[in-house]
């Protein structure tokens, strides 16, 4: 424990109440990991504030004590972004879960950060919905979504969290509170904050834009001999100017695993399954569905099914969303990656992944958001076999490199966190990282907010460099600087 911690803990207890400051190992065990369980770190303390003001005071207390802190929502993140730091405090936002305002005439809802993603859509249903829909939406928090700029299956058509945040109340690492508004004159501080993985501050109040719920949703499930043919279908759909709500692809291995879980009747002899969902005005969906079916047939679909009922649609989606969890049926453990590629390079990159998997003697299942080229390769391994975990990790890294080499990204929606920071130099050079650091230092010059995340190596913020420059108004004698 760092020196000064007893005083800090006592101060945190004053702020949040004794019962909401956890310091015992058995209490802290729950918080040592986020959704990425192989990274573990117990913090000095976990605090559970109940209000934005308590969050602000807790952050201010950490600032006074020069102790780093990490904000955590529901802990579902897949990059170790909410992994505690050993010498630091974990600020858990799960008690801030009020929906503060529903203003449908302004297409807006105002919530606290601990509100779950699904609760936002429920608060505005049935007329409206909140489009970003990560698979964990039942439990993941909006605050976490803000930190990670979360996506989901429907972001090909609707965009990401950053496209829907219109206002934030943020506590900065010095304990000051700032309101960021999408339409206020000045720099797009909101745009810089969303997706900054908790390193610029912590959001305590969030205004989101919601949109009218689509009046019609039609879901198609098509099977293909291989992922190449399914990829051709995706290309044909996008080239035709059709913008589906979602285009998801599963390969043979993930179909096998998921079908064992849900028994949805996915074809086990297929090399790939494509889920395409059209949503929007009735007329557009009807016409679109006809064109989709024809395009899939042209691309060599073995079988095209259209969900006729909500129950059928749910089953299709349940199988897709069960893919990760079902991997346990075919392998004891897996690494999930989150690489992105230009969609047109899909067939080539999948071939490269297959070749790499063969080289490493491991199996890789693929489940992905095909519309926007966001792959989720699942590298299967058995840690009981000596050296296999390390080999799997290396293979996962090679897959990420293949994505970057194809002109893509190391992460499409899970974030960098601790898990992918070592890959950052494959995408960004030193000048790029230096530019990132300038942003981080402007918000958090002492490096107290979620240190050790995003950047590949620790960096400090120097004093603001540069000579004093006379402002034009000073030169003109209009203003003076004091």
């Amino acid at each position: 424990m760092p020196s000064g911690s007893p005083a800090l803990i006592s101060r945190l207890q004053q702020i949040c109440g004794r019962e909401f400051v956890l310091t015992h190992q058995h209490e802290l065990a729950t918080y040592r990991s986020d959704g990425l369980l192989h990274y573990r770190q117990v913090p000095v303390a976990a605090v559970l504030p109940a209000t934005a003001e308590q969050v602000r005071q807790a952050v201010a207390a950490c600032y006074e004590a020069e102790v780093p802190w990490v904000a955590r929502g529901s802990g579902t993140g897949l990059s170790g972004g909410a992994l505690p730091v050993a010498e630091g405090v974990l600020i858990v936002l799960s008690r801030l879960r009020r929906i503060l305002a529903v203003e449908l005439e302004d297409s807006r809802v105002v919530v606290e950060p601990g509100v779950t993603n699904l609760a936002v859509s429920r608060a505005v249903a049935p007329t409206h919905f909140y489009p970003p829909d990560p698979s964990s939406q039942i439990v993941c928090s909006i605050g976490g979504n803000i930190a990670e700029n979360s996506g989901g299956a429907h972001c090909f058509k609707y965009g990401f969290t950053t496209n829907y945040v219109v206002g934030l109340e943020v506590v900065l690492s010095d304990g000051s509170m700032v309101t960021l508004d999408r339409d206020s004159p000045g720099y797009d501080l909101l745009g810089a904050f969303v997706g900054s993985e908790g390193t610029l501050g912590v959001a305590t109040k969030i205004s989101l834009r919601v949109i009218p719920a689509p009046e019609s949703i039609r879901t198609m499930l098509a099977f293909f001999a291989d992922t190449g043919a399914a990829g051709d279908a995706v290309t044909a759909i996008v080239d035709a100017g059709i913008v589906p709500g979602a285009i998801e692809m599963m390969d043979s291995l993930s179909i096998q695993a998921a079908e064992q879980s849900t028994g949805a009747g996915y074809r086990l002899d297929a090399g790939a399954a494509l889920i395409v969902e059209l949503d929007g005005p009735r007329e557009e969906c009807l016409i679109g569905l006809e064109r989709l079916t024809a395009l899939c047939a042209d691309a060599g679909a073995l079988d095209v099914r259209i969900a006729q009922t909500d129950a059928e649609r749910d089953l299709i989606w349940r199988t897709r969303k069960a893919a990760f969890a079902s991997m346990g049926r075919i392998a004891p453990a897996y690494y999930v990656q989150d690489g992105v590629i230009p969609r047109t390079r899909l067939a080539e990159v999948l071939r490269r992944i297959d070749a790499l998997a063969d080289d490493y003697g491991l199996r890789v299942a693929n489940v992905f958001h095909a519309g926007d080229g966001n792959l989720h390769p699942l590298v299967c391994y058995d840690s009981a076999t000596e050296g296999e975990a390390a080999r799997a990790e290396e293979l996962a890294g090679m897959i990420i490199k293949a994505c970057v080499d194809a002109g893509g990204s190391i992460t499409g929606e899970h974030g960098v966190g601790v898990d992918k920071k070592a890959y950052m130099p494959s995408m960004f050079g030193e000048p790029d990282l230096d530019a990132f650091q300038r942003l981080r230092c402007a918000f958090d010059p002492h490096g107290l907010a979620n240190p050790g995340k995003v950047m590949p190596t620790p960096r400090l913020c120097g004093e603001v460099p540069g000579p004093y420059r006379e402002h034009p108004l000073e030169r003109a004698g209009v203003a003076e600087r004091f």
Binding site: D188, I287, A442
Partner: protein
């Protein structure tokens, strides 16, 4: 004051070197694209050097299959759109093109100028502002650093989103060298449902109803002039006509008069876009809650203003006499932001074009400026709070 001497680099390296040299010499740089928005922002002083971006005018990549493109900062938006249109695609930005040095037939604004000023038109309703369409960016900082942020794919969360920070920053953090953008299928045809009202409350109620309708409008605009207003709902796609008829029925149900469907609708939207610029009077861009439209209209009426705007976004552009800007600001509803865009040189006194911006957000902006452009080389004094 020093006389500005123009530079027109033709490579990223030359542009970055020019900034670095200016910084080393303690000189200030004004970044200029096509010059269609020169009058925007504070006009406090003359820069030492003008850096023209028009030498950086290539469309570096157009990946039609991926619906993405990389465009150098000085390429004209109109030229880029023609390139994308040939592949049935568009960059979903339709700001008014304005005039280049007074020449309406000129090449129009550069992509860098549009992104740096965050300028956009009616398509913002469906596709968002420039910051929503830029997926990556290459920038030059005042110390000569060339850096990249974001990527070339439409989905990417690696690293910090500097592309958003530089969008709308008016070149005060550094120079945008090129942008990676997301494209969309070009909507070849569209039709527009149109309704009128002379009661702002009635117009606003209809606008709120159409905003909530699941009809996926390309654009949803309002216009107000001389005590009478209109609501315009643009429907694209094969079934656009059918949806426009549904929109028209909704307008009738909400008491709008003269409800009609216009096909083709190009001129209608050209007029909306044109209403965002003025070469004799002032343009004030107002951001308010969408439901506050009647209050914005009332404030505008009191100042003899005309208005065009985005009904669902609460963004309005009011054209009025420059001398009435102060009064307009005083009459707008609480919480509304009012930024002066166009105004004849020297016509507005005693009003900051950005309005009153203060508090911790401004402090944070100053800290950003100090980190990215510590010597104050790039567009000093132009921005919010004299940044």
């Amino acid at each position: 004051m020093a006389t500005a001497s123009p530079l027109a680099p033709h490579s990223f390296e030359d542009a970055a070197a020019a900034l670095a040299a200016a910084t080393a010499e303690g000189r200030t740089v004004r970044i200029v694209g096509a010059g269609t928005k020169r009058g925007w922002g504070r006009q406090d002083g003359a820069p030492d050097i003008e850096l023209h971006t028009t030498g950086l005018d290539e469309i570096v990549e157009h990946n039609a299959g991926d619906l993405t493109a990389t465009i150098q900062t000085g390429a004209s938006l109109a030229f880029a759109q023609r390139t994308f249109a040939a592949a049935g695609q568009m960059l979903a930005l339709d700001p008014p093109l304005g005039a280049t040095n007074g020449d309406a037939a000129g090449p129009g604004p550069t992509i860098g100028g549009v992104i740096a000023t965050g300028d956009c038109g009616p398509l913002r309703h469906r596709y968002g502002a420039p910051r929503d369409l830029v997926v990556g960016m290459t920038i030059a900082l005042s110390d000569g650093t060339i850096a990249q942020a974001g990527g070339k794919v439409i989905k990417n969360v690696a690293g910090y989103d500097l592309a958003k920070l530089f969008s709308g920053a008016f070149g005060t953090l550094g120079l945008i060298l090129s942008v990676n953008v997301r494209l969309h299928p070009l909507q070849e045809t569209s039709v527009t449902a149109l309704g009128a009202a002379s009661d702002p409350q009635r117009l606003s109620a209809a606008a709120v109803a159409l905003t909530a309708a699941p009809l996926e409008f390309e654009a949803l605009d309002v216009a107000w002039r001389g005590g009478r207003g209109g609501l315009l709902a643009r429907c694209a796609g094969r079934e656009g006509g059918r949806r426009a008829r549904r929109a028209a029925r909704l307008m009738q149900e909400h008491g709008l008069s003269g409800v009609d469907i216009t096909d083709p609708d190009g001129q209608l939207w050209e007029r909306q876009r044109a209403g965002q610029r003025s070469f004799g009077r002032a343009i004030v861009r107002v951001a308010a809650a969408p439901s506050a439209l009647p209050a914005v209209v009332a404030a505008g009426d009191a100042c003899d203003a005309t208005l065009v705007g985005r009904a669902a976004l609460g963004q309005s552009f009011l054209e009025l006499e420059p001398g009435a800007v102060g009064e307009l600001r005083g009459r707008l509803p609480a919480g509304a932001a009012a930024v002066v865009l166009d105004s004849p040189p020297g016509a507005i006194t005693g009003e900051d074009p950005w309005g009153l911006v203060e508090g911790p957000a401004l402090e944070l902006m100053r800290r950003l400026k100090a980190r990215f452009d510590p010597a104050g080389t790039c567009n000093p004094g132009l921005f919010v709070g004299g940044i």
